[in-house]
Symmetry: C2
Subunit: 323 residues, 2 copies
């Protein structure tokens, strides 16, 4: 595994304070933080929650800072404000004995074992144009099983069962508190933060088999790289105006902006919460911009040895080797 490049530093406190003051913009957590799950190199079993100090200054181990804190992000989110305040304090104080240098950190997906991985299909205007499809009037919702989630720098395993595995960079968000029938104007207060996802897709299974139900093509093990951090809503100036890119072997194959999203975070939260109770840790993938392999002429698919990098401005970069 290669260590992540930490090119994105924390948003300054003053900016985050200004953002939090805008009604409807404030998420579950008012502080600008990059929350991570990690294990120490050599301790592969032990999941820890931490706060990225930014600029390569390591990660504050939350449980080392306060032994009453939980071991997983989902449990931290379930604690609500108390957990977020502790994380903020840990970042501010950063006692030397609680800071783990990046050389000793293996980043994991910022959320593991969520109750739901909710995905939105056909949600970029330019992606609809690419395939001559009409702009959907309602969000199209499908899902992956949580078992598909893998770390931000872990491998994507090509299954023998598919010959058409494709990339899809997506802005993801994570639910921070329980809710049902959430109104659009309240929706952002249910969102803990944002992260980067690759909605890896076996097009043969998605489009040609399984009775047109997309699930199987979307949910092979390792088909949901996620990370590198859960970036709290206050640390993102405007989630719907961010450059979003996918690079395969260093070549940009997707290059768009989240301003092309048809249904934005608030609308997706409101829509899905009509059907199901949302819970802390639920992961949402909001859809992909144009440039996927299946709509190229001729189509291009991932092969062993490829490196796929997904980038979203302010949120981060994930990079996965295809094996």
């Amino acid at each position: 595994m290669r260590l992540p490049l930490h090119s994105l530093s924390l948003i300054s406190r003053s900016l985050s304070d200004r953002l939090s003051a805008i009604p409807g913009r404030r998420g579950v957590c008012g502080a600008a933080m990059r929350l991570v799950q990690f294990c120490r190199q050599g301790d592969e079993g032990g999941v820890r929650v931490g706060v990225d100090r930014g600029e390569g200054q390591g990660v504050v181990d939350l449980k080392a800072f306060d032994p009453s804190m939980p071991m997983t992000m989902r449990e931290l989110l379930e604690m609500g404000a108390k957990g977020m305040q502790c994380a903020q304090r840990a970042l501010e104080v950063s006692p030397a004995q609680c800071v783990v240098p990046f050389a000793e950190v293996r980043l994991l997906s910022p959320v593991l074992a969520p109750e739901k991985v909710v995905c939105v299909g056909m949600n970029y205007r330019d992606h609809c144009l690419e395939q001559n499809a009409p702009i959907p009037k309602e969000p199209i919702i499908f899902s992956k099983f949580p078992s598909a989630i893998t770390g931000p720098f872990d491998d994507i395993t090509l299954p023998d069962e598919s010959q058409e595995v494709d990339w899809e960079v997506e802005l993801a968000f994570v639910i921070g508190r329980k809710g049902k029938h959430i109104k659009e104007e309240d929706a952002m207060s249910y969102v803990a933060g944002f992260t980067v996802a690759n909605d890896v897709s076996a097009r043969d299974w998605q489009m040609k088999r399984n009775g047109n139900q997309w699930l199987l093509g979307k949910t092979f093990d390792s088909f949901c790289p996620l990370g590198p951090a859960l970036v709290t809503t206050s640390a993102v100036t405007d989630p719907h105006n961010l450059g979003i890119r996918c690079l395969v072997n260093g070549v940009a194959v997707q290059n768009s902006n989240t301003d092309q999203l048809i249904f934005k975070t608030e609308q997706v939260v409101a829509w899905v919460s009509q059907f199901v109770t949302l819970s802390p840790g639920d992961v949402f993938l909001t859809g992909t911009p144009p440039g996927v392999g299946v709509f190229r002429n001729p189509p291009v698919f991932l092969k062993k040895g490829d490196v796929v990098e997904c980038q979203i401005d302010q949120v981060g970069v994930i990079r996965n080797n295809v094996v």
Copy 2:
């Protein structure tokens, strides 16, 4: 809530021993047991795992019998043989102080918060004939979110968002150990046992909206009543030869036999494990026989005040009020 009728007694030890001796028939657990999750009346928060003693003789509280045992079925299954052996011992010994009378028991779904709820569509020959659909050559796999699960005698809540909520009695099974690329001949050794499900379905959302992805119509809160027990594989003579019925307000609307299943338990386990790693607690719904409301002429849908009862011989009965 009405208390369950316990019309089905435990299979005798001698029969279960004979069944377990048949190669490929033995599941995760060699013993014939009806495992339940419950809370004591008045202690609604506290999930407990128990073993149904049969014939109305109450439930052995597993944690009361052995404090090292976990509080949830999923954790019990994750323990493997040790957990099952303890449950078997608890049933045999049944110390009076560990037995909770049925009057004090509120049965919950035998599994809560599984990683996956995997569903098979169009999996009964007679259900395909009913809708003039061809017999599928491969299983059609879709899913519900775990948040849809509700208890065997809990209410089904009609959502304002649907006018076409339908019933579907289904044989469900629960995975007992982790596996990937499982062969059909080994599949039953990954199955902990069977239970009864109602795959409640909002036909408007399943069939006419959401880009033909079935997920939303299948996953409203309370759309997966499950129970009353996880009946271990050894307690079922032949899971593919069981009478299966659904009654609405006492009238039989579905009445078939699991011998009509196109893809049986072993084939479904093998098929799905090509795509995803199966984990203890994963719930599979195997499909429904004919008689659903949407294919009646005129169509019939559930309304407030209805009582839906799903029955599978040897496995049990669930009964849910529609509210």
